[in-house]
Subunit: 189 residues, 2 copies
C-alpha cells in the first residue's frame, strides 16, 4: 500500500499526544479510490478466512469497512454510538474508552444483524490502543458470532493495540504502520 | 433502481410518524452491492454537471455518498456533527433541526475541504423535510462553492423536502420515492 503511505507522508500530521490528523483522505474528506484500494487489499488478505460479515464502528470506520465488504461481497454492519429511533430493543452493546474524545463510548448493534454462525471480520480506520476493536469483538461474541480477523488502515504501533488484541487469537493486518512521532512528523515503518 | 425498491418492499418498515426503518441494507447494516449500484446510478445522473466534490452528512449518508464519489472519481466530504480533536478552527458550520432525534444538529466542515470553485453534489440517504440537505447547501455556499445537484437514495415525498429545496434551483434526483405510509406499510411510487 505505497499509495496509502504516500498519502500519510503528504497529508498526515501529528497534533500532539499521538493524535494523527489524516482528515484529508480518510476521516473527513475521503479519497474514494485510495480507500477502495485499501478495502480491496484487506479483502485480499482475509478472503481465505471466509468472512460472512464485516463489522466496524461509526463514524470513520465506515468508509474503509464498506469498501472491504464490497470487495468481499458480504454485508457491512456498523455499530452505532447512539441508539437511533429506528433501532429496536433487542440490541448487543459494549463500551470502550474513547481516545480522542475522553470518557466512554457505547457501541450498539441490533441483534438482527449479528447472528450465531457469522464469521466476522472487524475493520476500522485506526488500530491504536485496540479498545474500540476489542469492544467490537465483544459485540460479535455476545451475538454468538466468531471473529475471524482484524484489519486496520493505519496502525499506531506505539500505542500497543496489537498486544492487547493478541488474546483474540486471530490474524491482525494493517496497511500502514506508524512507529512513532517526532514533533509534527509521522514516522512510518 | 428496481433492486432498491425491492429491498424497501422486503425489508422496509414504517415505525410511525413517517419514520422508515431501512437499517437492513442502508443505515445500520449496509448491502454494499446495492449501495454501490445506487452510487453508480446517482453518478450517471449527475456526471454531466461535472461535480468536483460530493458532500454529505455523517452518519448514514456516508455509504451512498462514498459510492457516488467513487463512481464519479471525485473526493467525498462528510460534514461532522461534533468537532473532533483533529479539526482546526477554520470551519464552516450550519444548523438543521433533527427529524429523528429532536433538537438541532450542527454540521461542520473544515474550510480546507470546501473551496471557492468547487462544484458540489450533495448526496444523502434520505430526502425528507430537506432540512439536512439545506444545511449542507448553506455550508457549500458559505465556502463560496457552488451546489450543482442534490441526490438522495430514498425520497419521502409526503414530507415536502423537494419543494423546500426548489429555491436552490438545481436538479434533484432520488432513486426511490415513498409517496406515503399505511400502518406499517410503505407505499412506493
Amino acid at each position: 500500500m505505497e499509495a496509502l503511505k504516500e498519502a500519510i507522508r503528504r497529508y498526515g500530521r501529528h497534533l500532539g499526544n499521538g493524535i494523527i490528523k489524516v482528515d484529508a483522505f480518510l476521516n473527513h474528506q475521503i479519497d474514494p479510490a485510495l480507500i477502495a484500494a485499501c478495502g480491496q487489499e484487506l479483502a485480499r488478505r482475509f478472503r481465505h478466512l471466509e468472512p460472512t460479515k464485516v463489522l466496524t464502528a461509526e463514524i470513520s470506520g465506515i468508509g474503509p469497512a464498506l469498501m472491504t465488504a464490497y470487495a468481499l461481497g458480504v454485508p457491512l454492519v456498523f455499530a452505532r454510538k447512539h441508539k437511533p429511533l429506528t433501532m429496536g430493543d433487542d440490541v448487543f452493546f459494549a463500551t470502550a474508552p474513547s481516545h480522542t474524545k475522553g470518557g466512554d463510548v457505547t457501541l450498539l448493534v441490533a441483534a438482527d444483524y449479528l447472528r450465531p454462525g457469522d464469521r466476522v471480520l472487524i475493520v476500522d480506520d485506526f488500530l491504536a490502543t485496540g479498545a474500540t476493536i476489542l469492544a467490537l469483538a465483544r459485540l460479535a461474541q455476545a451475538a454468538g458470532a466468531r471473529v475471524v480477523g482484524i484489519g486496520a488502515v493505519i496502525e499506531k504501533r506505539f500505542e500497543g493495540g496489537r498486544d492487547r488484541l493478541r488474546s483474540l487469537n486471530v490474524p491482525i493486518e494493517s496497511l500502514a504502520v506508524v512507529t512513532g512521532v517526532e514533533g509534527d512528523r509521522i514516522l512510518l515503518e
